[in-house]
Subunit: 436 residues, 2 copies
Amino acid sequence: MHVQTMIRAGHVMPMTEDRAVLSNQAILINDGRIVAILDPAQCADVTADVVYELPDHIVLPGFVNAHTHAPMNLLRGLGADLPLMQWLQTKIWPAEGKLMSPAFCHDGALLAGEEMINSGVTCASDHYFFSADVARGLTEAGMKCSVSAIIIGFPSAMAADDEAYIRCAHELFEEFADSRNVRVTVGPHAPYTVSDIMLTAARDLSEKYGARIHMHVDETQTEIEDSLKQYGMRPVERLHKLGLLNDRFISVHTVHPDDKEIELLAQAGASIVHCPCSNLKLASGFSPVSRMMQAGINLAIGTDGVASNDKLDMLGETRLAAMLGKAVANDTTVMKVADLLYAATMGGAKALGWDDRIGSIEAGKDADIIAVDLGAADSIPVSDPASQLLYSAGREDITHVWVDGQLVVKKQQSTELRNLSREKLQNLAKTWQNRI
Amino acid sequence: MHVQTMIRAGHVMPMTEDRAVLSNQAILINDGRIVAILDPAQCADVTADVVYELPDHIVLPGFVNAHTHAPMNLLRGLGADLPLMQWLQTKIWPAEGKLMSPAFCHDGALLAGEEMINSGVTCASDHYFFSADVARGLTEAGMKCSVSAIIIGFPSAMAADDEAYIRCAHELFEEFADSRNVRVTVGPHAPYTVSDIMLTAARDLSEKYGARIHMHVDETQTEIEDSLKQYGMRPVERLHKLGLLNDRFISVHTVHPDDKEIELLAQAGASIVHCPCSNLKLASGFSPVSRMMQAGINLAIGTDGVASNDKLDMLGETRLAAMLGKAVANDTTVMKVADLLYAATMGGAKALGWDDRIGSIEAGKDADIIAVDLGAADSIPVSDPASQLLYSAGREDITHVWVDGQLVVKKQQSTELRNLSREKLQNLAKTWQNRI
């Protein structure tokens, strides 16, 4: 057999349901799609136009960043350490008020896309204004994306009132109806910024277009207390009553759900997006993620926007999710390595309803693939490639990124002046590893 | 004036008490020491053998990793997601039992040193066996270190009984009595592994040699419950009663102190070392760090060993400490950027009693300096250099490391295939930043 591209890797984690980690595999790619994953015995007679030999690497599907606000990359670094409302009122909202425009959203998304693709994110789900421009910025950076038809109960540079938001939503869905690499979600901002009428309209848009609903839910304790006061019920109960909860619902943050809300989300087949950096940095609280996973809810991981993070580093975000979830559950056996890496890839793809094409390395799927170097001093010796990918490696070790089979990132780091070569360090590590 | 080395940087954070962040400064170095920090007007007539021009960088003192177990780099990746005791009993202790030797400790420390120096750590405080060999490994990697005369109530390959541990301690202190770049601490392992008699011996060693005591304290709730049962008092109270608490005491972890223990540590002038990754990953709990800082306790940051982290990344560790501390305190205004970066540098130097020579960029101090690139897509636009160093940059952006004025690390990352150059991205970011 002859293929266009063959990636031979020391370790491959395809993110199939069995959470397998395979050794010494070859991934074959033709016309942007994965043709097969073979072990060496099976591919003796396979030739390829381009062969990547990556014996020290672990190869996995590209990360799916399931919640971000890409244009906010242009607001990076504003107002650290301020109280939440002062930060919003004196820094973020005035800056957004001044700058908000299609060009701002395009340029910010391009910048965010450059950061993300370099960090191994091959698909992002964005939530912001002027989403057509966001989509153009992100795709120019080389990635796929899902962007939101935002609905919020305030006038903005994009829309003056409820009617205008609905009009913009229809336009966005129509513009990308036939796009291969851009999808659209309905993006009601949050329960506390969207009226019952507009939540119902969001539900109808979701039904009309068969689209996901991408929404901040239960982010802070205040939001829940206000909902109890104003509506006599908690946010998830309200969304349930209004008919928004089903398997197309993506509940972002979800820091403070009670047992009943967890049950409602689980019964609906909804997904949650966990954004641990943002939840800590804004002191929003500690999400009971492992409890939600145990209830059967699909978990995805998101970085949130740079304004509250302040980096778009899915590997680091997933690492934190794993560690933090253990401490919150007071149990080292939950938030297992393979489940978290699955959440960062297939979990996101499932949340977006895009798991027919992305999220795993399987024959027929898009060749959206990353390779992470486990051969440097930061990761050796390698005794558990998946665990060390999550806990030891960093985004700097993501040296190759392919989207639709095209290599879009290739990094090489030269470290001068060190006495010991990479090979010497590896030999040192292996010698001792063999004695264990 | 002529000097050997001049570092001209866009931003300098010297880690002085005022937490200043300076723009456009030149650091002058001669014979391994800092001569002066000058602004451009002052150094028009200064010449240097070597000039580093780093307009996009922030320059700061090297990180002080205040708690690690360097040889454990050779045990990386063993036993993720296991219950704590099962992890120790089936993975870590058997491996240590098999391998423990001077050669293991040297080689592991060399590997850890390579990881640390590449991550901007110029001094580490280690806690392990065969510490002379650990010190040799770490210094061969180019860094300074403090190593521990360990005392633990179990026989090991290093020492068969209490007497042998004391003998090893004296030998270690004597071996490095005149060392410029290696210091020695007394390292009683933890309250639950060291008897009253040996804690008293540790106190006497500390007094004899004027040395720090470096000890795990209040790491888990179990430790405290056991102490209450066995001794009728909490661990810190016991240490106080035995005369160990003073300004030479370094209390590592300190996850579960009560108010009285915090007061005892504060009154003694002791330091704490916060290791948030390890505390989360082992589900040890959430340390009340901001409360301890408010009580006036000096804060240092440590990575702990690779076995429970699994990386020696002080910048990432400090970032997590900042975010996590905000959520634990339910207050976004605590754990401020400058205070955390201070903890990761001067806080560590003070804990080790080494702040006369390291921890800040001030005339007369050792030129242990790092430069972090804030000019890449991951960090632009730069509106708050210190905040973006902590929250946006990663250890991969630490491109230059000097120890005693010698450049020991210089990294360069080439990113091929991207459409947009670094300069184009910076211009894009600056254009919008100027409109805010």
